[in-house]
């Protein structure tokens, strides 16, 4: 009983993960392999233009424009540094 009390968090986490995994796999089998936007279009009945997967690396790809993404990341990094320095002082 004590062991259960000590590990109830991880047991609950594991149970949720198993249930969620079974549900996700069943849904995936029902819909077939689709990208996010295709899946949304299929669910809502909109005509699908297909997913853009330009520059995909091992199935990973970037949503949106790559150059803008990098630009925004640089701006955010600079902002983080500025906030860190400001709040350190």
């Amino acid at each position: 009983m004590t062991a259960f009390k000590e590990h109830r968090g991880i047991i609950l986490f594991g149970l949720i993960a198993i249930i969620v995994l079974i549900g996700a796999y069943a849904a995936y089998q029902a819909t077939g392999p689709m990208g996010i936007e295709e899946r949304f279009n299929a669910a809502t009945g909109l005509s699908s233009g297909g997913e853009e997967e330009e520059g995909s690396i091992a199935g990973f790809f970037l949503e949106g424009n790559m150059l803008s993404y990098l630009l925004v990341l640089v701006i955010l990094a600079v902002a983080c540094f500025a906030v860190y320095r400001h709040n350190q002082g």
Binding site: F13, A17, V20, G23, A24, T44, G45, F60, L76, C80
Partner: protein, 216 residues
Amino acid sequence: MAHIHLEDGSFTLTWVLVWWIIALACIGIALWVLRREKGKNQKKITIAAFVTAAAFALFQINIPLFGGVHLNLTPLVAILAGPVLGALVVLVINILSAAIGHGGWGLIGANVLINLVEVVVAYLIFRGSRKIIPDLFSRAGIATFAGLFCGNLMMVAIIMASGIQGVTQTPGQVLAGLSLIIAVNMGIAIVEALLTGLIVRYIGNIRPDILGESKP
């Protein structure tokens, strides 16, 4: 994760405005609370800046799991920055995402509300279950599952309430389709829960003060 991946024009202008107004009202409340607690959130602002950058970076990357999904990190934002700063973080992420072409501008209001639900629920579960689940990893993981599940429910509620222009499917068919999206989205929630749990446990080990926890 929970994010409406529809193009601008999918919702009528009335619904676009409704979700924008509600989202802005929530942001207004968050700003009012921040002004009232002047100076108290100084350290958290730095953390919020860092989680904004991290969440933005991951939010745009499509992971080839269950056909393709992306992480949100909204539960991590909630746990580290809190719900007030978290509201501002999700607004910034959604605006920047739309700016680079991920998500429509008109859907920012709706998407902010969805992410806000994730932030608030994850925060409440993480804080509220401290006595029942002292272990940081599983508590953060469970909070992540709960937050993301509620965010998905909010997404479906928004789509069902708004309706989508130009579709011939019945609301029942749309609901059935969206239910499958929830199930698939929750699949990636496992990855997000593991990631959030590991990060929170790591931070809890080295800097428990950031989490508002006492040292173990």
